[in-house]
């Protein structure tokens, strides 16, 4: 670890500051009976000044992190965004209404009809419990706030808390200046904002806070060797496990960190205490979450932590034996035997575990880290999730801006680079000005003055150069802040459920079709109606429409989703058979042809074909393509022109003129005139189409009477 720079200037300043008010303060206080707050009575010591500056900066950063995430609340309204947060909102609502035990043992028959879903055992409760606790706390203080407001603002609140943890982390690794810069950088970093904007009530909002907290507490435990910090990090790990499935990254990163420490020769008793306590207690606590279960001892992804655990025991054992033995040659032999045996036993145990199937191999999600093309070739449903798409350089630039330059400078926290560079520059810049003021400084500080004087002779333009560099650094940081605010405002603050566009005269047009359709479902269908749609919309239909769905965003059952995909891609009569077998009453499709909305079901249709074709070989992707190209106009494949999805999206669309100068039936999202305009539906009838034709609901007709 590099040594920390002492605040040399601070001690020089304290000499000059302390001496002046000491002589002048006492007569002023005695004679001034009127509470006249002149500046001299407010003169604080340097330590207090520094504390005041630090605390005020932290307060400003805390407030900044919160308010920069509020764009969508100000522009639209306080509502939940996207798809997954609607499930979290529904479960939180259930938790606050029915209590924790009902929530923990909840079996939901309203999703994945007819299978149902064991919600209590298949979710990460951290987020919901956190929001419920905040809600109950506010209720206890007699603030009658609706749970939705609490849910919307949970993520920005925890983002502010993350900046505090980042400050302490920076302070632990370097010094408080680096901590402040770290807190400021993390407060507005667009990569973080995109997952924790107000309304994005998703696991990551809370989990990133828990992640940083776990890392900070573990590093503190390794530095101090205290059992208390190690146990605190175990509890932070438990919070992380309860909040997000990404806890697997922590349970692999912390052993990796310990391994690197061991390799570089930094084994010590502190490390032993810290990792052992954290691993054992953390593992036991993590098993309390039903969704995680026994994965810590059974899953291949968690074996690295166990391996490092045993390795640490071997290190400790060898250290103890070395302490007992006095003969080095004997110890060398013993060392080689022990290491060989340990590795052999470990390898045999791992092999037996994996061969017998007790230790499961890496799941597809994490295997994609080793082989990125794995999901594309083998598991289309993982490849189709938009959050799993690979990152191009512009996305890196978008999300990180100048942090990309600072990362190589110090490989861990770019704040260290900024802080150290700025500190060095200010040191150089201050040196000049301090030397010129040595005349007024008392004798105790003259020694410091002389050391600065030696720097005096080196370069005449060094001070100007340092000031120029400082200005350059501030310019870069201000550009970073501008970029982050712009990105947040333009790209990451849209609630996907409400769409906005620029009208013909530049005014803003809002499309609230999704909520219109779900409200119609809620009010105009029988309570036990089952709705079939693509899995993207499942959570929203259950939360806002309050109806049973066939598949939803949990995507835990690939065959069920493939059944729906097959139904959507078959001809109407085959699809009717499938829908009758699933008891479907209503079908919901999303169509963007009138508004030009590009994330509609026709654009997602190929994924339905791929996923359906993955389970039912009767669905073949080339049937829907023409020369490898996906088209919906006259030249489209005949199977495409007559499949259920096509019919439901374009029913009655052929009569509609969507754009001036274009023929009727012009699809604005694809930019072509559709091929099959005369669509007749035999087994379904249109129930509802929203005002901008974005969501279309069809009713499945009961079978005809026999005679």
């Amino acid at each position: 670890m590099v040594g920390k720079a002492e605040p040399v200037n601070g001690s020089v300043k304290s000499g000059s500051n302390q001496s002046i008010p000491a002589t002048m303060q006492s007569p002023l206080k005695k004679s001034d009976l009127i509470p006249n707050l002149s500046l001299k009575t407010l003169k604080l010591k340097t330590k207090q000044q520094e504390l005041l500056i630090r605390v005020s900066i932290l307060c400003l950063v805390y407030v900044l992190a919160f308010i920069t995430r509020l764009f969508s609340v100000l522009r639209y309204e306080s509502m939940i965004h996207e798809f997954d947060p609607y499930f979290n909102y529904r479960t939180t609502l259930f938790l606050t209404e029915k209590g924790f035990y009902e929530f923990w043992n909840w079996f939901d028959s309203e999703s994945w009809y007819p299978l149902g879903r064991i919600i209590g055992g298949t979710l990460y409760p951290g987020l919901m419990v956190t929001a419920a606790i905040i809600y109950w706390l506010l209720r206890f203080l007699r603030f009658a706030i609706h749970i939705r407001e609490v849910c919307v603002l949970t993520a920005p609140f925890f983002a502010s808390n993350t900046t505090l943890v980042a400050y302490f982390f920076g302070k632990e690794v370097w010094d408080s200046g680096a901590g402040l810069v770290a807190a400021a950088l993390i407060a507005i970093c667009p990569g973080y904002i995109s997952r924790s904007v107000a309304g994005s009530y998703d696991n990551e909002g809370v989990a990133i806070f828990a992640l940083l907290l776990t890392f900070y507490l573990f590093v503190k435990a390794v530095n101090t060797g205290s059992l208390a910090w190690a146990l605190a990090s175990a509890f932070a790990y438990f919070y992380m496990v309860s909040a997000w499935g990404g806890y697997v990254f922590i349970i692999n990163l912390i052993p990796l960190y310990v391994l690197v420490l061991l390799i570089t020769g930094r084994y010590s008793m502190r490390l032993y205490v810290a990792y052992n306590s954290m691993y054992v207690l953390g593992m036991l606590l993590a098993m309390q979450i039903r969704f995680v279960g026994f994965q810590h001892v059974q899953s291949g992804e968690h074996m690295a932590a166990m391996g490092v655990f045993f390795l640490l025991q071997v290190f400790f054992f060898l250290d103890w034996v070395k302490h007992l033995l006095s003969d080095t040659k004997l110890f060398q032999a013993f060392l080689r035997i022990t290491v060989t045996t340990a590795i052999g036993v470990g390898a045999i145990a791992l092999g037996v575990g994996m061969a017998s199937g007790y230790i499961s191999p890496w799941t597809g999600r994490f295997y994609s880290l080793l082989d990125p093309t794995y999901a594309k070739d083998h598991i289309p449903i993982i490849a189709s999730v938009s959050e799993h798409q690979p990152t191009a350089w512009s996305s890196f630039m978008f999300d990180f801006h100048i942090l990309l330059f600072l990362f190589p400078a110090v490989c861990l926290i770019s704040a260290i680079a900024v802080s150290a560079t700025i500190k060095n520059l200010t040191l150089v810049a201050r040196a000049k000005s301090k030397v010129t003021q040595t005349g007024s400084v008392r004798g105790s500080s003259s020694s410091k003055g002389s050391s600065k004087a030696s720097l005096d002779q080196s370069q005449p333009f060094q001070r100007n150069g340092a000031i120029a560099l400082l200005l350059g650094a501030f310019y870069l940081l201000s550009k970073y802040a501008t970029h982050c605010t712009w990105v947040t405002s333009e790209a990451y603050s849209s609630p996907s459920i409400v769409l906005a566009a620029r009208g013909a005269h530049g005014n803003r047009v809002i499309f609230d079709d999704y909520r219109e359709a779900y409200f119609w479902l809620r009010k105009n269908t029988p309570p036990d109606a089952k709705v079939m749609s693509w899995w993207d919309y499942g959570y929203q239909i259950t939360a806002m429409g309050n109806r049973t769905v066939i598949v939803d965003n949990n995507t835990w059952n690939n065959t069920h989703i493939a059944t729906v995909g097959r139904a959507m891609s078959s001809y109407e009569d085959e699809a009717y058979e499938i829908m009758r077998s699933l008891d479907v009453d209503y079908v919901l499709v999303v169509f963007g042809g009138v508004t030009g909305y590009s994330s509609d079901d026709i654009n997602k249709f190929l994924w339905m074909v791929r996923i359906g074709g993955g389970v039912f070989p009767v669905i073949k992707e080339p049937d829907y393509l023409v020369n490898g190209e996906y088209r919906v106009d006259k030249g489209a494949a005949p199977k495409m022109l007559n499949c259920l999805m096509y019919k439901l999206s374009y029913y009655r669309f052929g009569e509609l003129t969507t754009e001036y100068g274009k023929p009727p039936g012009y699809d604005r999202a694809r930019g072509v005139e559709i091929g099959n305009k005369d669509i007749k539906l035999e087994y379904l009838e249109e129930a509802f189409t929203t005002s901008n034709w974005i969501v279309r609901i069809y009713k499945v007709k009961p079978p005809n009477n026999r005679w």
């Binding site: 391994l259 061991l262 390799i263 570089t264 020769g265 930094r266 084994y267 390795l311 071997v314 290190f315 060898l318 250290d319 070395k322 040659k329 004997l330 060398q332 032999a333 013993f334 060392l335 080689r336 290491v339 590795i343 990125p372 093309t373 594309k376 798409q389 690979p390 990152t391 191009a392 350089w393 512009s394 996305s395 890196f396 630039m397 978008f398 100048i402 990309l404 330059f405 600072l406 990362f407 190589p408 400078a409 490989c411 680079a417 150290a420 560079t421 060095n424 520059l425 150089v428 080196s458 370069q459 150069g465 560099l469 350059g472 870069l476 501008t482 970029h483 712009w486 333009e490 790209a491």
Partner: protein, 173 residues
Amino acid sequence: MRSKPETQSLTAATEPPSSTSMDPIFHLLRILPFGFLRPPKLRLKLPTLTLPSPMTVYALVLLTYFMVVSGIVYDVIVEPPGIGSTQDRATGSVRPVVFLPGRVNGQYIVEGLSSGFMFVLGGVGVVLMDLALDRNRTKSVKVSYATAGIASVVIAYMMSMLFIRIKIPAYLR
């Protein structure tokens, strides 16, 4: 992977004399095949494992960073062309297109590599600036480091801004 306990090194290990060895397998082998077989005198040495120097590790980290930030994962999965092409409507000739237009989350390979290079250049520039402030170097070296560092950062920043403005015309407007 074999771990290294901190106080031991394999170079210091010597073969204990056969009389004081406590390895049972060694004694077994001494009797059974090597009682009548005579092993030849080889001049082989076990390869010694030493930790790489910090600069080597840093160079590797920088290389990995360059590859990640150039979007190599995207290139491997999506397999875009190295450089795009568009056909000029008037003349019919094929013109190359360097930046994939319109989307933030797509790139061509060469575009990714050049932007990644700019980011690494900026990072190296910051490191050079920090080195230039170190007191224990001669003045000329410090001046050259400082100039190189400042030039690198300025160039990298301006080029990155230019690239992103070409790619996303609506940037910061």
